[in-house]
Symmetry: D2
Subunit: 508 residues, 4 copies
């Protein structure tokens, strides 16, 4: 139970670990205008930068209207005004976008169908803070169909699709969000979701931890009624673990970021495709015969390497972890130190989660025309700051493409200023977002319905059986037919016929 002494738990921890603490909020906000969004630590797909959404958002945005949504009085067609969006009149267009997304999110639609009898979220009052896109709308409306009441804000000041927000508002969902919010707007919107007369949330769905942070800071008593938090981002999860370690986590929290399916899709499968896409859209380069060095052979690096090898590139890998290094060897990649190949490669790709992997010294030694980009966690993998020196000329040749020119004329091609290539220069397939959204929905159902005592004030991974369920809901997309165990086989294996099928340490 929180009491007045302890409740500002976040303040209490603010001195120690600057990297994730909330006291840095202001500083983080300062970074926003660089367009990467402030949760740059995370390479979670759902934290798409504004770039990746901008094209989709441009359909109806004539945007001459400079009045702040907070100053406008708007009502939806049923007379309801409990929302704040850019322009409620864009609802119809947004609705079409949602409908198209529904077609590619069969798992959520299946959940809706199964929920027609039972309403597993009946009574749930969910406050959410995520990107507001057509895919999120499908999630929100699914939660509604499962019985929940929802209020929603954006987790990123740039990423809201105004038309989609309008469509949700038109359908009666209290949404508070628009593209291009100010920092003040951002927190105001969150507050409007939480601080409501006669309504108190009992579930939190967060992406980045800001909503959770706000409630901790402003309404700690609310946690008395909250059954749990579902968090999907690396940063948000990190914050939760810190809270837990510090003994300040007041409710159970579900880390959906590390579920198997989400990880594999966000990292391996998605990056296998988006590395090619991001490079093509920015540079139109040919992959065949190119020499590439990929720094880091985790899931992201594995995806990048596999794709480029398949396209006829010659790929080198750098690693710090000998196990991943041995995997790279067995998969047919020469394991080198960056210095060994930096003079000869045509492309450098970072996928490490580390910082200063590509240093100014490396950049100085690259050959003319070398392309440098980042597929990893943060925008610190390439030491871009070191390039902002007087002797180097920056030339913006396309959106997201800079030529950095050395005094001798050598050009290095820097993509997305070192921010995440796949978020800045390619889009995330709906199918990947469907995996994430389904995982979130199931985590909410699990936490909401769990018998007292199953979950304590700690951070949990999604139960494997749920992870398996998410996967099974997506198999029909591929017309894939699962085999069922016979009773005899289940007994032989010592398994329940319905899973879970693997021990927790299974590596997939």
């Amino acid at each position: 139970m929180l009491n007045n002494k302890k409740k500002y738990c976040l303040n209490g921890s603010s001195g120690a670990k600057a990297q994730i603490q909330f006291a840095d909020q202001k500083q983080e906000f300062n970074k926003r205008p660089t367009k990467i969004g402030r949760r740059s630590l995370s390479r979670s797909i759902s934290q798409s930068s504004t770039d990746s959404y901008s094209s989709a958002a441009s359909y109806t945005d004539s945007s001459d209207d400079e009045t702040s949504p907070r100053d406008k009085q708007q009502k939806n067609s049923k007379g309801n005004s409990d929302f704040c969006v850019k322009n409620i009149k864009q609802a119809e267009f947004g609705r079409r976008e949602i409908e198209i997304a529904e077609q590619e999110m069969p798992a959520l639609m299946a959940l809706r169908k199964r929920a027609q009898g039972e309403k597993p979220l009946a009574g749930a009052k969910i406050v959410g803070c995520t990107h507001i896109t057509a895919q999120t709308a499908v999630l929100i409306e699914t939660l509604g169909a499962l019985g929940a009441q929802c209020r929603w804000a954006a987790c990123n000041i740039y990423s809201t699709l105004n038309e989609v927000a309008a469509a949700l508002a038109e359908s009666g969902f209290p949404v508070f969000s628009w593209k291009g919010e100010s920092e003040d707007d951002f927190w105001w919107c969150i507050d409007r979701c939480v601080n409501v007369e006669g309504w108190q949330p009992n579930m939190i769905l967060d992406d980045g931890g800001d909503l959770t942070h706000w409630i901790y800071k402003k309404y700690p008593n609310m946690f008395k009624k909250i059954k749990g938090i579902v968090e999907e981002s690396v940063t948000g999860v990190h914050r939760l673990y810190q809270l837990s370690k510090a003994g300040k986590l007041c409710v159970p929290a579900m880390n959906v970021n590390d579920s198997v399916t989400k990880q594999k899709f966000d990292n391996l499968y998605c990056c296998r495709e988006s590395i090619l896409d991001g490079l093509k859209r920015t540079t139109d380069m040919m992959f065949g015969g190119k020499q590439v060095v990929v720094c880091g052979y985790g899931e992201v690096g594995k995806g990048c390497c596999a794709a480029l090898k398949a396209m006829g590139s010659i790929v080198y890998v750098t690693e710090i972890d000998p196990i991943c290094a041995l995997q790279a060897c067995m998969d047919g990649f020469r394991l080198v130190k960056l210095n060994e190949v930096i003079r000869q490669v045509d492309i450098v790709i970072t996928c490490t989660g580390n910082k200063n992997v590509v240093t100014r010294e490396h950049l100085d030694r690259m050959k003319n025309g070398c392309i440098v980009c980042n597929m990893g966690h943060s925008n610190t993998e390439i030491d871009v700051a070191s390039l902002r020196t007087p002797e180097l000329t920056w030339e913006r040749v396309r959106s997201q493409v800079d030529h950095v020119i050395w005094p001798d004329g050598k050009r290095v091609v820097l993509l997305a200023e070192g921010r995440l290539l796949n978020l800045s220069c390619s889009t995330v397939p709906t199918f990947v977002l469907s995996i994430t959204a389904t995982t979130q929905a199931l985590a909410l159902i699990e936490l909401y319905n769990a018998p007292e005592g199953r979950y304590k004030q700690d951070v949990y991974l999604l139960p494997k059986k749920m992870d398996e369920y998410v996967a099974s809901l997506h198999l029909p997309t591929f017309d894939a037919h699962l085999t069922e165990l016979s009773d005899e086989q289940a007994k032989y294996l010592g398994l329940n016929k319905n899973g879970p099928f693997k021990p927790n340490y299974y590596r997939y």
Copy 2:
């Protein structure tokens, strides 16, 4: 020798084969506004539709200036006015584009270097008619460096990059071309290249055959001094073979379209990458797990299949040729008739050069959301015309993406209205264009310098040794080191140490 009686040779044949004859010119022009360009028979990369160039062309085009270039008086900085471009002031921007292209066209730059002593094209007067892009500019300036005088027009009314044309004019090349020419402008420009006081071409570089046609029609006597024609497009080559068959080809012609390197790069290597790029840019789809049918297993189909298989798609192939069919089997693709899989696939890709490969009947049976696109020759592979019926609704959802909606709500996603996906929805890497441009330059050198009698009034393939030379000029890009035969080995193999290394029928 042509005389007045015989010279309108093309008119003489105009009744017979409508498909390629010049008398159909007007009818072909009528097709232009559909944006595919009139040389739809060809899948040659260089015949890019206007779409693929439009983005690049937009840098400086404020284009408020509605005056026709033909009505403007312009001079370059040296006072020269023997050109006609949109705006000579755009020269500087165009120059930068050319310089960037130069970096990626090392083979032409190498030719320039080798030509510093000898000028293999000294005395050559080349009239050219091609797309006018930065890459072409590198070619034209290379021809200049090799000793040639050049005059140039565009082979497509949409594809000219005005800035590049301006830069060429500024450097003293008589260029006659701008983006958005009318049909009349088109022929006027060509005529300005050919019909000059005191200058007569002795070499032709053509792409599509229009320039050749114009000289045949208007100035047949010119052929007396012309040493040869170099033609790179499928359509143009087809026209030349027809002329040759009819005994009306007046000079030697070089078919550079069918050289090994050009074919492999235009088809196999380029399509392996552009199929992914075109699909991603238009649909943002995920390839993993998708079921795809590729119609045709020639070089283009092989490229598409290899790429999609590598990205985790399940690929089916249709073929009419049992040898290619057996290759598909051995490469791991199930060989089916289109009907067998049409209900289940997520993507249909045509690569046949044939017509009506995907019929209305097939389209009727596709599942909701199925994507249909064409990587083959013409825009007739998919029977798009059959979809323009009242009961179907067309909805343009993005540039190059239409949803065709059946009465029951089923949507088929049609890309580029059935035109070539890779030309309409992705760009051609400079490296591929470099192969083509180098081949053209070498063909010009060969024809210009060939001793009397080596080439007769016929259509020739590039000598294999030249083809090998083109390849060798591109190896340094990959830091690739060729092995040389020892004298003893050359003798053992019965080969010249410098090639050619293979018999003509070698399949690579």
Copy 3:
């Protein structure tokens, strides 16, 4: 602590779980002549069947000598007779085999080098029970070089290479083992290792659990001085977990079977190659174009699928686990039920660890010439027993290849009678064995040197850092160069510069 009352702990548990209990020993022995060895539960590579060793063993085995080694008096060249092998005179040949193996086991050789100063196993008295092969000999001699005294018996009555055993005996290692031991010999040999005047083991290295069982049964007091058990087989590990659950495990035990490197090499990397090898050696079939169904998409299934896809086969996958199923989809394999494709496939491969995956009904429906084989755990995946009915004719066409002939003439090609294809019909690369042996050596060092209290009477996985160390020792084989973290980077990541580099749940 064990006392007399409790010491026959295994008997105590014998009623419950027949599958792994020791009371079944006799029954298990009856299975031996079927050549699979009694630890059929395990697919651990090191438990090679006799088949896989027989060829290697044939060099010097004229084997006319029918005298039992137990009845012979042999001395090595130094007069020592504390061993029992087939023929001490074969030592020289065995020594050469060991020397060749040393060249391919650089990690153990590196351990020897590092141990020249410190002897991390000084004082260790290790009793071991494993296959006795050249690779094991390198391990044993490495343990010796690290300071340990060793006594060794075989874990399989067929797998001993007599020449190698002789070479070890010649070098002074008390080895008790020969090829073709009887059951009685088997236990006698183990007893001779353990039951020695004035020598008591303080470490156990076991493969299958028989040695551990024997000590539990006969000399439980020995556990007072034993510091730990290292076990590498699935079966042996299973037994240890059972003991632990039952509270009867008297010392710490290290499960080296589930270390990352061992798992990946035994399963994914090794099977990727051995599936092709096993099929070729038995059937000489061509893979291109063949339709194959792989049952199970775990590590083994993933390896088989990747290899066959690369060779041009069309591969279908069956799975019970939706997560693995989704992986199969994303990797480009159609996920089916076995029934859907059983009539059309050319090859059926089981990789499940389950039983009766391929039933008589499936076998009845296969097409003529279909090949059936097992890469999974046990020999029950294919219901081979169901084929031993009067109406079917068995025809042995080659070693390890049977044609089972239906009344209508249909032939099904059964490999290795349903036992493990890779163990029966291909050999295990030394490099894989090197991984295993190094892991065993490090586990012994860890357990032997661990400070009091680090390990309790439980079963442990190898510490991740050791796993990483095993990997790092094998990198030089590939001339692979690991990158080191800078201090700053290590701090940023919150890692020790020397590892471990990943959380325990990391999936690789």
Copy 4:
């Protein structure tokens, strides 16, 4: 005996080109005992060395019988004695082998079926000289079923399967051949096929040209009645082209070696599999992570590279031809000179058709344990002779595996003494032999039935349509369904609906 002026055509040319002339016969015979067979120039699959057949031949060969077959009187069960085989009693075993082969040669079986009405070879008297294996037997019996009379000898003194020869003799085919013939036997057998009372051949099927040579030399008049020669080996084809050039070819000859399907299967598809198989069977090595250099990137090199890359090897390529070199680059292989990588690679594979590609200098610089093998044409690609010097020690460690040991202890692992790895150390899949045999059968039908004048005294490639037909006959094996052109499509493409579908220069 040849008489008359012109018909001593072979003698006339005998002085000039020692490499292929028949006058060298004796010298060639001397090479035989080295086991490579005398047609070492060829890498045609069907010219398997004795090694590759020896295992299959061992079933019934107790071989104590030292009597020469020429000295034995044997009759088959019908009392016929017009044959000479090792032991007619082995017929039953041979018959089973033939029946098994029939199941995997569906194309020939289909030809038999279609021939039940018409007998396209009625009246044909075919004399054949090929390897005598189960697959050849299926061909011979198919020719019989098509109406031909056949007499047969072996083209290699080691490759005959005695049981199969017996089975053919039992079925009434006059076969003269046994395993281990002497040189004298070899020519005696051929003569017995040709020199028969009251029977004169009108068709020749040859493999290597010895039969053709014999007739030229001994019975030149026979050519008056001979309608044509079908030759499948590189060497034999080379000889025919020499004859043709010299104006001495007396009848039309069909070069079936260079047909598309045969080339692709013998080289690309077959080698893709056999490189792995040959390396595994000889060395049990692991491919993953190994560094390999492949010399030559023709079809064989392409197959080797693709396979090893897929298995996780790091592959370098050397080439002399810049076009093939560029292909290697685009396919993702670093193109190097052998010297650049010779110190670091684990495996060296030659696929060039050239000689001394791997020199003693290269061998001196290889690292310890490096494996060297040849997949190319002849056994001169590796300069094995240079290794037979006193300071090097040869150690035979397995069949086909030698360790060559340098004075410092370095070992190079030489496979098959530099002869063709795939013929010496792996077997050829029946499917590949089926392609060849079907091509031979169709070539015989074509030549036999061609109207007067279609073929002159020249060497011809198989008509493309026949090549397509061979392919189509093999598609059912893969359950592959070919698409048929509609009339409209055929007209559009200017093709006959039944093919041929491609121009002659098409590269596939």
